[in-house]
């Protein structure tokens, strides 16, 4: 198993543009365990040695969908590339889906009661028959669940898992699918945050020097 804490640049560092030995790299290195385990999570989920109940192609399609929805450019490009490596035929279908699926969030409804005044509506994504034919029933159901978790997570319920079971997902697969979507939700945001830290770490521009 890949368990290499000595990598010079983790995937998060590559995507956020953190150069080795830069101020942000040294700042992140204070959290060496977090840095290493975030990398290990990525390797286990996206480059599995034994994919088990969720195939490599399924993992890459779901990840490219999740990264595409958040719209952080470097992660989006990276996951489109990982999908291209294993299943190029899916890339154009996924692009088309990403153009249609609503990206805003988080929205959704609470269990009825005092929080109902906070309920916010939105547009769930459902595959068209043409898209379902390209993706197959397992992946079509997985992307519908991923869209739910990514854009209106508080609407998740047991019926959503029942739809996945009906599409052929087993218990181990449901755990992997949930981990994959949830991990991507973490990774796109840490890359977004760290990219901003990198942008703020450069010396002040002449404009601010002028104000000093």
């Amino acid at each position: 198993m890949v368990h290499n804490s000595a990598v010079t640049q983790t995937i998060i560092e590559q995507l956020a543009g953190i150069e080795p030995d830069s101020p942000v790299a040294k700042n992140y290195q204070r959290r060496a365990v977090a840095r290493e385990q975030a990398e290990l999570s990525y390797q286990l989920l996206l480059h599995p040695q034994a994919p088990g109940s969720v195939s490599l192609v399924e993992r890459r399609v779901i990840a490219a969908f999740a990264a595409g929805l958040y719209q952080e450019p470097a992660t989006r490009r990276h996951y489109a590339g990982l999908l291209q490596d294993v299943a190029p035929a899916f890339v154009p279908s996924l692009e088309q889906i990403l153009q249609q699926a609503s990206t805003h969030g988080p929205w959704g409804a609470y269990p009825q009661g005092p929080l109902s005044v906070e309920d916010v509506g939105g547009t769930p994504w459902q595959s068209t028959p043409e898209q379902a034919a390209v993706l197959g029933p397992r992946l079509a159901a997985a992307l519908e669940h991923a869209h739910l978790l990514l854009t209106h997570p508080r609407d998740a319920n047991s019926a959503a898992l029942a739809r996945l079971v009906a599409a052929g997902w087993d218990e181990d697969g449901l755990v992997v699918l949930s981990q994959l979507v949830a991990f991507l939700s973490f990774q796109v945001r840490i890359v977004s945050g760290f990219s901003a830290l990198v942008a703020a770490s450069f010396p002040q521009t002449t404009e601010s020097a002028h104000h000093a």
Binding site: L45, Q71, L174, V176, S201
Partner: protein, 195 residues
């Protein structure tokens, strides 16, 4: 075909609360007597085998192990952002995403470490816009901007945190805590319910 578990007698939770809640899985966790060394390695602390949530995640033990070690380093590591503020970030992300169970756990931790429940109670009762003063307002605002879809966080947010007195080390810890709770919330919401 796997069974979907249901709890017709469980009381659904329809408010954010500091009270201790239960979390009930919709698919079967592993049976405690079926746990192997690989599962215990994933659980990291053997006491976590008591939790249905962790025994469910143990269906993918290696990923659970990496996630558990990541979680502990983001929240328990020494120095940098005070623990109360890391927990406040976790509670604010959970409040904004709508994970009632996660918010209750981390709101309690935040109060335990800050010894002050004013902002946490406002956050739970009235939402993320109700924390308006001092460092806590910056923590909650950062949690919300990162959590909102559409990649809205940027250099302007770092500049604002620096003007408010946050060091680069504290800012990095805050980004990690807020990003991580977008992972935690979606796992708990996908796989079970609060009761």
């Amino acid at each position: 075909m796997p069974d979907i578990l249901s709890y017709p007698d469980a009381k659904p939770v329809n408010t954010f609360t500091l009270r201790q809640l239960d979390w009930l899985p919709w698919i079967a966790p592993l049976d405690p007597q079926d746990l192997t060394q690989q599962h215990y390695d994933g659980l990291v602390d053997s006491a976590r085998a008591k939790s249905a949530y962790f025994r469910l995640l143990a269906r993918d033990p290696d990923v659970l192990g990496a996630r558990t070690r990541l979680d502990k380093d983001i929240f328990y590591s020494a120095g940098g952002l005070p623990r109360a503020e890391r927990e406040l970030a976790a509670a604010a992300v959970s409040r904004f995403n709508g994970c009632i169970y996660c918010a209750s756990v981390h709101a309690r931790f935040s109060v335990q470490f800050s010894k002050d429940d004013k902002d946490v109670n406002a956050l739970l009762e009235h939402g993320t816009k109700s924390v308006t003063d001092g460092r806590n307002a910056e923590v909650v605002q950062t949690a919300v901007t990162l959590t909102e879809n559409g990649n809205k966080f940027g250099k302007k947010d770092i500049d604002r945190l620096q003007r408010a007195g946050f060091s680069p080390e504290e800012i990095l810890d805050l980004i990690q805590a807020a990003a991580f709770f977008n992972w935690a919330n979606r796992l708990m919401l996908s796989l079970g319910e609060a009761a």
